[in-house]
Point group: C2
Chain length 468, copies 2
């Protein structure tokens, strides 16, 4: 490609061969089912990747029904978009050189034992790799679990547990492959959909800021989960982060905050752990939503994936059980949200609808009112119409009697324009079909009250606030 042609490409164009390839070469394909070179090929086939797939191994033959090519050069056709590489470190520069000649503009390198070893040899090898790749090839890794783009039915990783993962709009960029996949598993288990997920590993030629820039332009991504152990380029990171968080909520998690972990972080993916307070400040300046656990990241991402952001921070809680409603209100306030003050008109309607022996204010203890469908619909509609309410949290412990609050929500789902989250659970052996239907309607459910509160908070934080 000429320099002129390259300059006209958008960021999305530059990353397209990596994330949306028309063809993938697997360099280091293996017929041994215990090897990464076999698992990875299985993964590429699993979601029925629609592009061309070229296993590469000097021995040739056939693996999993696919013809194996002895070299990258021997692959038919003019070019290959993406190479997944599972070969020893010393071979990588020449493999990348071959890939570049074949027109590859994306590579995923799972090989470890390079820069993260802290040796001059590892460092030098990665520098040679970056040179061999040239300016146009985007590399994820080395020392990565790989990358998935569920939006393109592409799994170029050695994680072989993702058959049931649905396509969706949550993208994850992590330093650690294990951490990435723990979260992808949780999202999958909750039925939430993922677009892209990757661990950046040693960041041979693309780093966090590059991905932040790309995800801002990526139409398939609506919410970003970011897991950071160490940052090498704080200024670029903040700049790219601000551009991204103007457009999409970014849930961030900085780990490795204790001195005892500096060595572990450095030897993990070669990142400088740096002073935790500086890095936390960088995440804040970038306008990200700071969280402190993978559990919170997953819970918040599901809410932001499904629901519109809240226009303000005033919440209303409806529940037939007072105790969980108090917990939700307590947690929301601890996180910085405010209980909505209902308008006089709302109060008047609620007084006529909700059992006066339990109704006091916000939270609304619905008690027996939740055992009746019509009153539940009217109560919920009244709260949803109140201009003082920005976010609605419905909670009901699973119990057949009180299910009408959830049925009312299902009934009104298309009409409520404000964000809604639900706390309800599914006891072992007792199906909760309303919870399933709510998830299908893109209303997230959480099995414990504090988790619903955290999700509501994330919806209120989705408008970026930059801090100096």
């Amino acid at each position: 490609m000429t320099t002129a042609a390259r300059n006209t490409l958008s960021v999305a164009d530059k990353f397209r061969p990596l994330f949306y390839p028309e063809s993938v070469a697997l360099v280091g394909a293996s017929s041994n089912p215990a090897k990464i070179g076999y698992l990875s090929l299985q993964n590429i086939l699993q979601w029925r990747f629609p592009g061309r797939i070229y296993p590469v191994n000097p021995e040739g033959g056939e693996i999993l029904g696919l013809r194996v090519f002895p070299s990258i050069a021997s692959i038919p056709g003019e070019k290959v978009d993406l190479a997944l590489i599972a070969r020893p470190g010393k071979e990588l520069p020449s493999i990348l050189e071959e890939c570049r000649r074949k027109g590859a503009r994306g590579a995923v390198i799972v090989t470890g034992g390079l820069k993260e070893m802290g040796t001059a040899e590892g460092q030098e090898l990665e520098e040679r790799m970056a040179c061999a790749a040239g300016g146009d090839m985007k590399i994820i890794g080395p020392n990565t679990i790989g990358m998935i783009n569920r939006s393109a039915s592409l799994n170029v990783s050695f994680q072989d547990t993702l058959a049931m993962l649905k396509p969706g709009n949550i993208s994850l960029v992590t330093q650690s492959g294990g951490t990435c996949m723990y979260m992808v598993h949780q999202l999958m288990n909750y039925g939430a959909g993922v677009s892209k997920a990757m661990s950046l590993g040693n960041r041979c030629n693309i780093d966090f800021p590059d991905l932040l820039e790309y995800l801002a332009e990526d139409d398939d991504t609506r919410v970003v989960i970011l897991h950071v152990e160490g940052l090498d380029h704080a200024a670029r990171f903040i700049e790219a982060g601000q551009k991204l968080s103007c457009r999409k909520p970014v849930l961030s998690y900085k780990v490795g905050n204790f001195t005892s972990l500096t060595k572990a972080v450095c030897s993990h993916t070669g990142a400088l752990a740096g002073k935790p307070e500086f890095q936390a400040a960088a995440l804040k300046q970038a306008g990200f939503i700071p969280l402190t656990s993978t559990s919170d990241l997953v819970d918040a991402a599901r809410a932001l994936s499904y629901q519109p952001p809240a226009r303000g921070n005033r919440f209303a809680v409806l529940s037939p059980q007072a105790g969980p409603a108090i917990i939700i209100s307590d947690t929301c306030q601890r996180l910085g949200l405010c209980p909505a003050e209902f308008t006089p008109a709302t109060r008047e309607k609620l007084h006529s609808l909700v059992d006066p022996t339990t109704y006091k204010d916000n939270p609304i203890d619905m008690a027996v009112t939740a055992t009746r469908f019509d009153e539940s619909v009217q109560t919920l509609a009244t709260v949803a119409a109140d201009d003082n309410v920005d976010i609605i949290i419905c909670a009901t412990l699973f119990h057949g009697t009180y299910i009408h609050l959830l049925r009312a929500l299902i009934h009104l789902a298309g009409q409520i324009t404000k964000p809604v989250v639900v706390c309800t659970d599914t006891p072992l052996g007792v199906p909760n079909p309303e919870a399933v239907e709510l998830e299908q309607l893109k209303i997230p459910t959480y099995p414990l009250p504090e988790r619903a509160a955290l999700a509501a908070w994330a919806l209120a934080k989705a408008i970026p606030r930059f801090e100096d």
Copy 2:
């Protein structure tokens, strides 16, 4: 009973008719499947309660195959131990009077609309109820979801979702029935066993201090979960709490900390919310382990239910994935635990066992070592034998390749005397039989790293520390 005879009874004896009755009367039994008086009878039958069951309803007849008695007095035999009462408030004093005459020494009253209404009428009714019950009858409620004692196959509540709940050693005392059952559902879903679970409601004649005293003596209870909205008797609470927490770990959670919730708390079960800081101080003085979410209560309870307490606060982390291991170490340190400094002998052994390209220190990044059973066993045994290690945390993202760390733990389970917790997950559609086996061996597993860290922390906090 004479005063002399009553004085010789232990606390456990006094509560026996309530928690371990030989016979139960259901006052307000109903043949209408939508009514509490029917659901409750179904519940009493569900776990095959081995005692005698007497439904009471003036209409007589038969419900669910059981003969219905027209009155409490008409029940055959000399006495009934426990009465579950689901009748309107104004009838309660005379029903309790009848129960007392029939020798009942336990009652569970689910009726609401009494003291929590804040009316003189409700207050007066509860005072008359306490008088009618006399000095020997222990009352849970009114305004409660009820009580279960899985150790006695007894479900005297209207929560009909607990068929799959296993007997175990965790007991829950809560202010809110909904909150209680959210947590019981989670414990059930994780396969953890429960002994007693109850919401105290309006605390007509037994309150938190009484239950704390009782649970200290209850042989079926090893761990206590306590959910408090408001305390009425701080001095008695602290005294009874200290006696209990000397013997058993108590996980406590104080909610309702914001002024906006004072009204909600008061109208919920008639408790004075009081100044949150005073109440938090009371829980601390009682030697309880303070937590801030139902999720943490459940996670910590599972660890304390299964594992021995830690002798100190020095933890070791083993994982084939560095990222999750860093998160665990980070979280443990944030909670106040210390990374163990391995002895020179341990370090030497680890250097020979673990891949030198990944092994640095603690956390131990096992990488490929976890793909081999023998080395995994030796690595784990080496760490477990180190005198500087008090708690062991094993983590592995589910992946067939790295399962040998979990297999090693299963192999060594009987020999390791120190507490162990595990982080591993079960992706949808991919069974993780090792995780199931670990739970059977009473080694708790958590699907995300921070949750395993919290469990480890709880094991280190299980030795009570009283604070002035």
